[in-house]
């Protein structure tokens, strides 16, 4: 099992950041790597169990299933059903916590997955830096940080 963890500070209150990211079908609106997204079967994007199918700007196609969504904890957990990355049993969580000192947000994004051992470093870098930190950088660009 390989684990990836990235965290950052976003310069806006957690409810505002959550409003920008809670839409499971909304990645293209804030994540720079995502070109387009849809929810399969016309399900609501906040229905636990729904599947988002999205395309990366580099052309890659990914399907992910919403496993848990909490407006109370500002957290979202999902698994990968299909992707070009070569990962198995991939489960990730994106979670926000208020920083009461200054009205900012502590954002954490973590994942665990199985992969071929020789690819663990490459995938850790790809997921930790491009996907997770890339998303944080976009949020910091939008909200400050």
């Amino acid at each position: 099992m390989t684990e990836v963890y990235a965290s950052s500070v976003i310069g806006a209150p957690a409810d505002q950041v959550w409003a920008a990211i809670r839409n499971f079908n909304g990645l293209p609106s804030w994540h720079p790597a995502i070109a387009e997204s849809r929810i399969e079967g016309g399900a609501p994007a906040d229905q636990v169990g729904c599947v988002r199918a999205f395309r990366l700007k580099d052309g890659g196609f990914i399907r992910e299933k919403l496993l848990a969504l909490s407006d109370y904890d500002f957290a979202c957990t999902y698994s990968i059903l299909e992707s070009p990355m070569g990962v198995e049993n991939y489960i990730a969580t994106l979670k926000l916590s208020p920083i009461t000192d200054g009205g900012r947000t502590f954002a954490e994004w973590s994942a665990e997955f199985d992969c071929a051992p020789e690819r663990a470093d490459e995938l850790t870098d790809l997921i930790g830096n491009n996907v997770f930190q890339g998303g944080f950088d976009a949020l910091k660009g939008r909200f400050g940080g």
């Binding site: 963890y5 990235a6 965290s7 950052s8 500070v9 310069g11 916590s97 208020p98 920083i99 009461t100 000192d101 200054g102 900012r104 502590f106 954490e108 930790g128 930190q133 944080f136 660009g141 400050g144 940080g145």
Partner: protein, 491 residues
Amino acid sequence: MVAVRRSTVIDAPISAVWDVLRDFNGHESWHPAVRRSDLEDGRRTDQIGAVRNFSLESGDRIRERLLSLSDKDKRLRYCIVDADVPLQNYVAEIALKPVTDGNRTFWSWTSTFGTPKGRENELAKLVAEGVYEAGFDAVRQRVERVGRPAAPAIRNGASLPGTAMVIDRHGGPEELHARPVDALPPGPGQVRLRQTAIGVNFIDVYCRSGYFDLLNPPGAPGMEAAGVVESIGPDVRHLKPGQRVGYACPPVGAYASVRTMDAHLVFPLPDFLDDRQAAAILLKGISAEFLLHRVHPVREGETVLVYAPAGGVGQLLCRWANRLGATVIGATSSEDKARIARAAGAHHVILPGRDSLEKQVRDLTQGRGADVIYDAVGRDTFDHSVAALANCGHLVSFGQASGDIGPRDIGALASRSVTLSRPNYGHYTDTPQKLSAITGRLFDALRNGILRVEIGRTLPLSAAATAHRALEDRETTGATILIPDDLYEKG
């Protein structure tokens, strides 16, 4: 039942913060409310079940038991066993998480407890502010990297002493005060500078006041400076000791006479540009370069609208866009500023009048509108900017002097097939390659006289507060620079 939750970010690695907090008997050495702490029954400080006996500065006593401690999760819980303060069934948790982006620490301190009826708010405030927030500040003083006053620091012979203008909390100009600092020997990829001139920018005011989240006190503001390389760390090849250099970038901390920082952000200065000129022009000139050449490459014959054309960046945009062959329109608020804008190269200047900004722009462009608009005003101008664009025009929104722009309907952008850019300085300047391309063109423009450096005020570093007041009162024209006091006294 009352629940209290407080959290902060400490600018130090998680291990340094955990070292302080995991000592269950250590509060007397850092928490201002605790006069004395004793562990009962000779137990160890990390022994689950240990009871600490606090004597508080208020004279009250509290006994607390350690319920759990995890070095893996960097988390501990404890409860009150008995206390002079009426907190009932009090259970608290201290938890740390790493902020991987910047090697900092997120610290949350939470609890639930009961109180006598009617005293909920009073006791919640006592816990939140008197215990948790006071604790945050105390630990911050102890472990943060910049401006550690208390730590009788690791003063090895190789550190370089100097002075910085730091703030201990966000606030007005009066928060800026001088403090001795030691610039550590440069590590791998780092350089240590003796700074000779420091640029003052409006963003420094935002950092000081806390409007921007670039400076977590204690620390020094400042984004740009010039100076001399004092020494270099391993793996630094593009700089050598004795070389004249400059930089203009986050992280903040330029208000200092000495500084150790990442070498890849630092570049050599050309001979024709002296240190004071460099400190006055780098940040604004780099901004103008990427706005006019990278965000929107301005071409001959285009119409360019510049807001605040008499400001530092505004004048550079007018002058440079004019030389690129564009028709330059400045939008400003007074005839005095209009004169400055015209002198800087604006072909037309529009002032608030009977007609809207968009109408005036269309009147000047035979109804076409502007091809590109550089808008750092933000909230008050955004909609006017969209309306003043030519079809397929480009709105470059690079600031918000009038306030956050807030949500906008992107459908409205279809009225002109608008391209919208929201450039972030850091993304254009984060590698030596990008920086050298930008500074190369900037230095050429300065050498050829396309751009000029205008220094308005030169002050000693210790007068940074004066410089901030003048900026905030809009008293300045031209750039303000600060000179480390020993050099300033020598003239």
